[in-house]
Symmetry: C2
Subunit: 120 residues, 2 copies
Amino acid sequence: MARVECGYAHPDEETVSLEAIFHALSDPYRLRIVRTLAASAVPMNCGDLSFGRPKSSMSHHFRILRASGVLHTASHGVEHMNSLRREMLDRRFPGLMAAVLGEIGHATTTEASARPLTPA
Amino acid sequence: MARVECGYAHPDEETVSLEAIFHALSDPYRLRIVRTLAASAVPMNCGDLSFGRPKSSMSHHFRILRASGVLHTASHGVEHMNSLRREMLDRRFPGLMAAVLGEIGHATTTEASARPLTPA
DNA sequence: GGATTTGTTCTACTTTTATCGAACAAACGA
DNA sequence: TCGTTTGTTCGATAAAAGTAGAACAAATCC
């Protein structure tokens, strides 16, 4: 399980758990990363998803998102490109990401993304 | 905000956040409470949702579920009856609970509810 | 009134998370 | 090769969360 790909370990589809995904998405920065990635047509590097926070802090968040199965990271040259594992997530937990991203109704972006996300 | 009802404070629909819900659902016991409630046609008291764990521990979990907006508690005599705030959740985050409960696809119950949930 | 049931609150303890500077590693480019 | 860029790992610290016994409160029954 958890095959290594491009230097990063990503959990296999069968081992991805709802709990881990919920924990991953329960942090404001991580949720913001996911939403930003979802809105992007192409993978994004870590720096562009760091929102001005320290690299070490964000690296921690990327690791949790990766370990939960939510995102995939691949090294391309000097930068590490991130993307949502959307197809896998849709297979494993149909409707979940759509609900998270507010693709069904209209409410989703209201609360969390309207928040300032001030450093602390 | 957060009007008191039957002795318990429940957040109003507008103040319910996705992050808080995710945090609430990131604990195995809390997820189990939610699934058990969803499977029940009628509200259930805390004891029946405690899975043999200490009352004080479970009371803590009920509080978090309540504060996140996931469930509603009402005193009926000596016992406190819990139910999912399903209609509100469906309005606020369409598709979310359906995905959590696996009502769309077939995968959901695989990981978490197959887990033994041994005390520690 | 006194005992019972149901669940909360208090308090203490332990574990897990989050944060972030500093050192490190890999991939380029000049 | 040296310096730059990008991101990880290490280590320390602080904040948050989970656990559970004990005392407490409210409703109910005798």
